[in-house]
């Protein structure tokens, strides 16, 4: 088709809609920083360039997004990859993980294991027999805790995992020392450290590579390959924009890119948060939005080993990179 190839074009002048009809796409997501590429694409009109009329549906929890995507109430979902998603797929609710939306990566602060500031614990090994706070069973926090422990020769059964149900709950419990350690993410880590009641034992990204969250397509949306590829084009353009603005490193230090302030402000606008806070919690993601495909199978295997998913599935049943690859091709 008569597709725009000029990446520099900002606002659509209507030329693209001459031959490509506009399609409505519903995106379900949370008001979290990790949805940044979607915010950028929305704000900068990348979707319109592709003839996509995107409307956002805000959710308050991760789980319903996956459910809504699988059920087709939204076409595209963006959220964390939890055990519940694998269970959903193995239970016959198909959905596709199609792109990266944030991961744990060495050298980039995202999630970490923290202990109270005056805790005698200095390493993961010291946590044997202690209480570790996580949000919920089967959550990404659960997974990270488990993998961290295993990296240090322990297993989940060597500690007490305490589900505290919410991030504030985790922070509160750390503050009052009701638990001996917690997993937390940015910008909350910065908050805890700067308020002085907790210290970081290890960064998750330094220990494991982990595809934390992703972009999902509903099975119905995936059937319309043309639109799906067009959506991916816009998304990839946004991840590149994001990467170039906030994730470029020079000498191991992140340096603000060209559009740094613009991206920060877009995120701040969509998440109703203070830009300064946003700056502390920018998750790593692939410049092209490519998934860490191999990690998905690792996750499935781990969850299955811990009996957190019903029946083991093949990563191929849930990962689909065709759309992104095709979008990146031309």
């Amino acid at each position: 088709g008569n597709q725009q190839t000029n990446e520099e074009t900002t606002k659509s002048e209507g030329s693209s809609s001459e031959t490509t009809e506009t399609v409505d796409v519903k995106i379900g997501m949370l008001k979290l920083t990790s949805s940044a590429p979607l915010f950028i694409a929305l704000e900068k009109g990348f979707f319109e360039e592709q003839g996509i009329n995107a409307t956002e549906t805000w959710f308050e929890a991760a789980q319903p997004i996956a459910v809504a995507t699988a059920g087709g109430s939204v076409d595209v979902g963006a959220t964390g990859i939890t055990a519940s998603i694998y269970n959903m797929v193995s239970g016959g609710q198909k959905l596709w993980i199609v792109a990266d939306k944030g991961r744990e990566q060495q050298g980039f602060s995202s999630s970490a294991l923290l202990v109270p500031a005056d805790s005698p614990v200095t390493s993961v090994e010291d946590l044997k027999g202690k209480k570790i706070g996580i949000t919920q069973t089967g959550s990404t926090f659960h997974y990270m805790a488990g993998r961290l422990l295993e990296n240090h020769g322990l297993t989940i059964s060597d500690v007490d995992l305490v589900p505290l149900n919410s991030i504030p709950g985790l922070m509160d419990s750390l503050k009052s020392k009701q638990v001996d350690a917690v997993i937390l993410n940015e910008p909350n880590i910065s908050t805890v450290v700067s308020e002085g009641y907790g210290k970081v034992i290890t960064q998750v990204g330094d220990e494991i590579e982990y595809q934390t969250s992703g972009v999902f397509f509903s099975p119905k949306f995936a059937e319309n390959k043309d639109v799906a590829v067009r959506f991916m084009k816009a998304y990839a353009k946004a991840t590149q924009y994001y990467y170039d603005a906030v994730l470029i490193k020079e000498d191991g230090e992140i340096v603000p890119g060209e559009n740094y302030d613009e991206v920060i402000n877009i995120i701040a606008k969509y998440t109703d948060q203070d830009p300064e806070l946003i700056k502390k919690g920018l998750p790593y993601m692939d410049r092209d939005g490519r998934l860490l495909e191999s990690d998905i199978q690792t996750q499935i295997d781990w969850y299955a080993k811990e009996k957190l998913i019903e029946s083991e599935i093949d990563a191929k049943e849930i990962v689909n990179t065709e759309f992104l690859e095709e979008a990146l091709e031309n």
């Binding site: 308050e60 789980q63 319903p64 504030p168 709950g169 509160d172």
Partner: protein, 263 residues
């Protein structure tokens, strides 16, 4: 005849013994003073048992900062919404089951097999269906209110004095009028008993619903300060909850007296 004489004395005088009025005021006052003294003397760490005055002063701060208002508004919205929905649906279904013998025969066993489920256990299911926004919180309260109201409405309708129904029919009432003029007012007191029972349940479920992912709300506040181990504010939250419970009950009582003047 001998002149020995035996006066009959009151053997149950102990039943009428009166306790001075001040005793009940005394009890609660002494308790509060004792509590305060124990705290002032540092016999227990304030973390575990803060002094009443400390609770009130921290409570005052919460009020002054407007934080309390936010919590109360959030909780009230949920509880009023959930209660209204649960009670309305409960009364309607209860009336239907009460009036229609077929509906009764078919659905009552179903109701009675769902009834003993502690409603909190449905929370995960409801979160699954409705997410973690306001909807599931309101829904769980509505569900908790629904059952006692339904069962009371149903048994209220069933227990309306048959003689009154016979009297109404004798004096020419149509079936519709029997329902409207006899069964409904006759069931009202029992329905109100159900509404009162449900008020306690609603408050309980409010707290547990707010313990899962709520930013505002008295339940969330209590959990928050519990996690932070700020006992004064935690206890103030508990106090507010008991006050809320009391108010709720009073309100229903008032409504009952308005609606059922003949009792």
């Amino acid at each position: 005849m001998s002149e020995s004489k035996k006066i009959i004395k009151n053997k149950v005088a102990f039943l009428d013994r009166k306790i001075p009025r001040y005793a009940s005021v005394l009890g609660i006052t002494v308790l509060l003073l004792l509590w305060e003294t124990i705290c002032r003397m540092n016999l227990v760490p304030p973390l575990f048992l803060p002094a009443p005055t400390a609770i009130l002063s921290d409570g005052w701060d919460l009020m002054a900062s407007g934080e309390l208002m936010n919590h109360i508004t959030a909780s009230l919205t949920r509880i009023v919404g959930g209660y209204a929905i649960g009670a309305t649906v409960g009364i309607i279904i209860g009336l239907i089951l009460g009036f229609s013998r077929w509906a009764d025969a078919i659905f009552t066993p179903v109701v009675y097999s769902i009834y003993p489920i502690p409603k909190i256990a449905l929370l995960p299911l409801i979160i699954l269906w409705l997410g973690i926004g306001e909807m599931p919180k309101v829904a769980i309260i509505a569900l908790g209110v629904f059952f006692p109201v339904l069962i009371n409405t149903f048994s209220g309708v069933k227990s309306v004095d048959q003689t009154l129904i016979k009297a109404a029919v004798t004096f020419g009432s149509s079936h519709f009028n029997v329902i409207r003029k006899v069964i409904l007012p006759g069931a009202l007191p029992t329905i109100f008993a159900g509404l009162k029972l449900a008020a306690g349940t609603a408050l309980l479920l409010l707290v547990s619903a707010e313990m899962i992912a709520a930013q505002y709300g008295i339940g969330a506040m209590v959990l928050h300060y519990g996690n932070l181990m700020i006992t004064t504010k935690l206890m103030f939250g508990v106090m507010i909850l008991s006050l809320l419970g009391l108010l709720f009950n009073r309100g229903l009582h008032w409504l009952e007296n308005k609606l059922i003047p003949w009792k």
